[in-house]
Every structure is written in C-alpha cells, then in structure tokens.
Symmetry: C2
C-alpha cells in the first residue's frame, strides 16, 4: 500500500467546486475563472468538474448564489423595535460589506440565471422588513424593484470622473470650460472639497447618499398610500 500524497482526498463535490471558484475569483479575478484553472486549483482534471456542475453557466450561477449565501450569513436579524428604514439600511450595508470583499461579484449577480435559492431567502428578509414596516404587498414589490441592485449592496455606475481626472491636471480644465461648462465647474468644486482626500469620490459615502435618498422617497410613497 502506497500512501497518497498530502493532497485532499475527499473527492469533489458541488460545494467544494463552488468555494474553490470563489477563492480563485478573489485571488486572480473572474476573467481567470476558467474550467481548466479551477480544475488545476482542485488538483483534478478539467472534465471532472462537469460531473458536479452542468456547464460553465451553471458554475457561475452557483458562484453567484454562494456569494449571496455569504451575505445571508453576515446580515443581522432586525431588532424587534427597529423601524423599517434603519433595519433595511443596516441589512443592505451589511450586504455591501460582503460584496466589497468580492469586487467581481456584481458582474455575476447581474447575469440572468443568478437568482438562486439564497437570493430567495435574502429577498424574503427584505420583504419582511418592508411589510412589517407598513408596506402593502404591492408597494413592497415596487420598492424592491426600485432598490434594484442596491437591495443587495451595490450600485452600477458608469459615471467615473476619476478617469477624466488625469487629463485635468494641466490646463485642460480651462479648455473644457467653454465646451463643458457644468462638468468643469463641478470638477473644480470637487477638487476643493476637503473630505475627498483619497481619489475623487468616496464610494461608501456615495452609496449611502443614494440609498438614503431612495429610502426617503419610498417612505413618502408609503405615507401617501396609507393616506
């Protein structure tokens, strides 16, 4: 009898495949999450993965739901006396703190098939907070749509003045002023803001501002509905 090498001999499983995929994405980025690289990380041949996962799309769906599972574990259960707004705010910011550890997750979460069993449980919690807080089923449904990806802790943006910031260094801002008066004015103002010490925008602060604006609008809608 020869002793096996000190590699794990537990055999694969869907769970081990998915958690290895999360680790790989964390370490090397999603673009490096290939069937072959994942197999190598598990000390196995690429084709072995197909026994535990139907195909690459199913793998990515599973990884997305695994991230939401991680969120579920991190999310606090609302206190009895807490109002809906701060309970929901707390839950969403907890979800966000998990996503910050997995910057690649939003890409997977916005794929069509990403809505899995953990997502169902997560939204059950969100919905419970809303309904117990006085939202009708219909209004709570609209509220969840209104939150969009913010409900799970991320906001998709494409406005990145940071990219334009490089060009602003020399006299380009003066040149911009005639063609883009509002943007150049805003950039000039923001440079002088004290609290934008690192980078142009404080992502966390912007996320919370947007979340609070939305929550305020939803509260107004709730009050109107009660009449």
């Amino acid at each position: 009898m020869t002793t096996t090498p000190p590699r794990q001999r537990t055999g694969l499983s869907r769970g081990r495949v998915l958690s290895a995929a999360v680790e790989l994405a964390d370490a090397e980025g999603v673009e490096s999450l290939t069937m072959r690289a994942l197999a190598e990380r598990l000390g196995v041949e690429a084709m072995s993965l197909y026994y535990h996962v139907a195909n690459k799309a199913a793998l990515l769906d599973g990884v997305a739901d695994a991230v939401i599972g991680e969120i579920l574990a991190a999310v606090p259960s609302p206190a009895e006396d807490e109002d809906w707004r701060s309970a929901l705010r707390e839950r969403i910011l907890a979800a966000r703190s998990v996503l910050l550890r997995h910057p690649w997750a939003p890409l997977l979460l916005t794929r069509p098939g990403a809505f899995g069993p953990s997502a169902v449980l997560y939204f059950e919690g969100v919905l419970g907070i809303l309904v117990r807080g006085g939202f009708s089923n219909e209004l709570a449904h609209h509220a969840i749509h209104a939150l969009g990806s913010r409900a799970i802790g991320f906001a998709q943006e494409l406005f990145t003045p940071a990219d334009a910031a490089e060009d602003v260094s020399d006299g380009v801002l003066e040149q911009m002023a005639t063609q883009l008066p509002y943007l150049s004015g805003m950039l000039a103002s923001i440079v002088h803001e004290a609290d934008s010490t690192l980078g142009w925008c404080d992502d966390q602060a912007e996320f919370e501002f947007g979340l609070d604006a939305l929550l305020e609008g939803l509260e107004a809608a709730r009050l109107r509905a009660r009449r």
Copy 2:
C-alpha cells in the same frame, strides 16, 4: 478591367466597424459579437479589424460609447421654463427608450472602460439640468452617483419573481407559505393585481416608480441644503 462585386468598396473605418458591431449585437446578441463574426459581416478578414481598433476591449468600449451617442441624438433639450425634476425625468426616459432597442447595452455600459466622450456629453447635460435647477456642484455630484445606471436609463436588478412564477402554478405556494411567508404572500397579492396582465412585472412602470422615488429623495435633499 473587371467590375468589382456589388459589395461596398469604401474600405473600413472605425465608424463602420462600430456600427456594424451594433447591428451584429442587435441581430445575434453580444455573445455572437466576435472579431471573426464581425469581420465576416463586413466582408473582410478578421485581422483587418485590428487596424481600426486596438483589440476587442477597445471595440466593446467603442460600441458602448456609440450607444450613448445614439442616446444623445434622441434626448430632448429641456424647455426654458421646465423644472429640473421633469426635465431630468424626460431625459432619462428618452435614454431608456434607446436602450430598449439594445438589450445587450447595459452589459457593455457597466464595463470599466465604457465611459467615453459621448458619456461625457451626456452627463454634462444631466449636470446642467441639476445645477440650473438649484443644486450646488457638490450636491449635483452626489445626485449623479445616486442615480447610478438609472441616469442613462436602466436599472440593474436580480430580483426576478417571474423565474419563480413557473413553480407556483401547482400547490407549491401553499408549501412555500410556512418557509417564505412574506414572498408567498406577495406573490399571491400580485397575481390578483389587475394591471399585471402580461408577465409579472411591468418593467417600464417599475423603472418609473424607482426613478420617481429617487427624484423625490433628491428634491428633499436639495431643499434641505438650501435651508
């Protein structure tokens, strides 16, 4: 002298490559937008594309900006006497109507490099509406972040009760009731809603509800800032 075949002999250009890419994505989906397929559509060899576009990433960035260019052409210029809220609402809904013709566009627009010259012009317009409407540069900046992808007409969601709808047909809803009381309650309510005739959710109505909630929250923030 032999006559050339009736194919366009204009030669390639960055513009022709990009508009052909948009057409291809519209017709076959983004996943079919490969360098080889795009070349074939243009009656040219795949490698010829690299003369007009640095690589595939640059191609996708260009396509994303081309879509925003289309949005720019469709967006109305606000009337003189229009208040910021309805002017911005109108602009965003016009952007959305363009994106509905390119369902694949959000995927490209949320890529890191998608913020191009047309996006700059688009946000210059948004910012102008806000500043003329009484927002300070700082608050307008926060407002643009708060709008996120909604500013260009789409909302990223992953809450798709429609996917769960299939399973609800038989007695599963009763089975759900104990484990997922809130979701099963909401699903039961929504089925009975009159105006959800086709499908579960009216995407356009949900988008407008979320947009209006956000605009209401932003207006409240503006009023607070003026004091």
